[in-house]
Subunit: 438 residues, 2 copies
């Protein structure tokens, strides 16, 4: 299953499409508030948006997966405990401060849950907290608690769009995807770009559905869907301390077919995963690597990841330079270090459908080189322009969805395959990450 | 053992010091030639330098270590065979074309060895070939063979400096280090920057000594020395298809003490390794990570590598931004994914000697933040300036050796330690690598 191809030609068309995607499933409401606060660790005020997702009735059917980073944020630690609670009633999300390894971080998360619970008639254990933002700063708890009544009062049940906009940080546009199964729907939203959302180092994904799927099946389906969606993307190889993917069912609509549900859920997750990369900071080329005839799926995926994480190859792509030697370097590096028993003698490589490597040697000539350059140029999301102050910024506020650098890696020994999606390494990435806090 | 601290204030002082380091050990001569050729794969001519290192007498005492990349260059494949030969008589090095996975690559390397052998009165098996440069291009064998007589005629036995300059590609300055043991010397030279020499994707290191150390002891000492020198650096995490470290003894001077020899060899390797990072493409901050009280040396080294390879942290350092959350992210990512049983509860972190993390939480405040910024600024090798055409280039041609970002990671469970050296991620790196071939 590939992600869903989209072909927007302007921002308004993208926005109109997003609005149509955004209709909330039955049983959910969302509300947001934005306010200013003074961080303890910094000399000037900052702004935060609180986003509340509330169920009309608490549900036993919810699932969540969290980062594997060994130094996780306080909301991750609290969230893991919430998985054992009988029901979930709401999710409260703040941006700007990630609440990771900050003194009193768990107490801060729990106090916000407890104050919100009073407003919503729930218990603190029924509320899942999420935070995204600067790692190391503490949550401005008093300011957040003061903003809770307004956030709760803002709850409406029409569209997830305000929430998708509320949870973002440096995202260029909100990310929403949906699918239908029978009379029900699955609506997902994402912020950031996972490992590639470097300013705030966090990916948050919330998938809401009105389809009635029991907790055990819901959790198993989410684990499998994430494995072939969010776990197959990487832009800068960094792993957030706050990554969260949550799936909540309001149970309002009978689910006619669990297999159809999982297929639809997987599609929503893959579409959101590609959105996350396509909106990655500084990403000017989305790179899709299809690895086939590998011995195992983990090997296929690891080779794909090695390619999209190789800085030299990423730089070459950024420059529309088909420096395929760097692609071969990336494969050889991974196999030599991690899977030395892999036979690469049948290795075939194609870039933009053009064969560049087979029979153990490169298959290159000046005509192919020109065609490869043309493929890279046609896949560029926007042209980079050096600004006068030296700070590169992406000049787009909607993603040209159809453009993609296509790489095929045929190992030639096995039947396993995997698709991995990543991005290039650009001046825009360095500008966004070399000086954003100051 | 740390690398040797140097404190040059200008290019001329550095050059004078290099010249003093460059005196060849007894029994070696070097010669170089530069010429133009037309690559088969590209539309315009290119320039290449041939560098010849010749022994006055073939020696049985030589050692070499090669890349672990699973798609190595032809000279690596030939070089591995040379390790089984009874003696070595010469090393021939070309830059510009790396001869990796090019059709007929091994035959090309062997023909050059064989033509050179005729000129030197050796057999082809006594010659170690090395190539560095673009991956995917084939060697211009006829042009190289035509240049061999002139290269051989240029052999002189005074200084290694012409060779250290001949093997470079995008290096800003030649890299030479020496040590003495008794009446003998160990002189090493390096080109490139290992994983961080992205244009040409190759690190080449040659260490020459007149000290008589038998082959077995020489090879064992080199393996151990490389483990704590070249294997502890990384700038962009890419692993070259051509990495080579060779050590050759002419045996002219009795070695008074094998332990002293290995200590001196290790010092030369560590000094060259730091030179390689300090001259890494786009490196504006050298980052030294000292990891201590870890359970094992491999764990300590892996945590150090995770830090110097974390793109977000590297970008922060480039911007003189003490975004220590990204440092914690890097440690947590590695431990969570690769060593989840590691206890991080006693983790302590210092940056520039200032404590930033202990007791499970950050130790930050505005005054510390100012001191951290000052440390990063003082460690900057040069100021970055956006040029009018958008292409960033390093404005230095000698390295301020004493400047370094100092990071201490205390795990708190064990006695193992390791030092890892890396660099930041800058606009200069992206400029050099996003468009160099065209």
């Amino acid at each position: 299953m590939a992600s869903t191809a989209l072909t927007f030609t302007d921002r308004d068309a993208h926005r109109a499409w997003l609005t149509r995607q955004a209709q909330l499933p039955a049983g959910f409401r969302v509300g947001t508030t934005r306010f200013e606060f003074m961080p303890r660790e910094a000399p000037k005020p900052a702004k935060m948006t609180l986003t509340l997702i509330a169920l009309d009735q608490p549900t036993p059917d919810f699932a969540a997966l969290f980062t594997r980073n060994a130094l996780p944020g306080a909301p991750i630690i609290v969230g893991r405990q919430r998985l054992h609670e009988p029901t979930l009633g709401a999710i409260i999300v703040n941006n700007k401060v990630s609440n990771v390894c900050a003194p009193g971080g768990i107490e801060a998360s729990e106090r916000i849950c407890s104050e919100l619970a009073k407003l919503l008639g729930l218990s603190a254990g029924q509320i899942l907290p999420s935070s995204t933002g600067v790692i190391g700063w503490g949550l401005p708890v008093d300011a957040i608690v003061s903003a809770l009544p307004q956030t709760s009062a803002a709850l409406t049940g029409t569209s997830i769009l305000p929430a998708a906009e509320g949870i973002v940080t440096t995202d260029l546009y909100p990310k929403i995807r949906r699918a239908h199964v029978g009379a029900g729907s699955i609506v997902g939203m994402a912020k950031g770009a996972g490992m590639i959302e470097p300013n705030l180092a966090t990916m948050l994904v919330y998938v809401l559905t009105d389809l009635a799927v029991p907790r055990a099946e819901l959790r198993a389906a989410l684990t499998r869907a994430v494995e072939t969606s969010f776990n197959t993307i990487s832009v800068d190889s960094d792993t957030s301390t706050s990554d969260t993917v949550a799936l909540v069912s309001s149970g309002r609509v009978p689910c006619p077919d669990l297999t159809a549900f999982e297929t639809a859920l997987t599609q929503v997750c893959r579409d959101l995963a590609e959105d996350v990369v396509r909106n990655g900071e500084g990403v000017r080329h989305v790179i899709r690597v299809a690895v086939s005839s590998a011995a195992t799926v983990p090997l296929a995926r690891a080779i794909g990841k090695a390619i999209v994480n190789a800085p030299l190859f990423k730089c070459a792509v950024a420059g529309n330079d088909p420096n395929v030697g760097r692609l071969v370097q990336a494969i050889g590096k991974y196999v030599g270090a991690e899977a030395p028993s892999t036979d690469l003698s049948q290795l075939k490589l194609r870039l933009g459908g053009i064969e560049i490597f087979s029979g153990g040697v490169f298959q290159l000539n000046p005509a192919k080189e020109a065609a490869l350059v043309a493929h890279l140029r046609s896949a560029e999301l926007y042209a980079s322009a050096p600004p006068k102050d030296g700070v590169f910024t992406a000049p787009i506020d909607f993603p040209p969805h159809e453009r993609c650098v296509e790489i095929e890696v045929v190992i030639g020994h096995g039947t396993a395959e995997a698709v991995v999606i990543g991005g290039d390494l650009t001046h825009e990435y360095v500008s966004e990450n070399a000086d954003y806090r100051s």
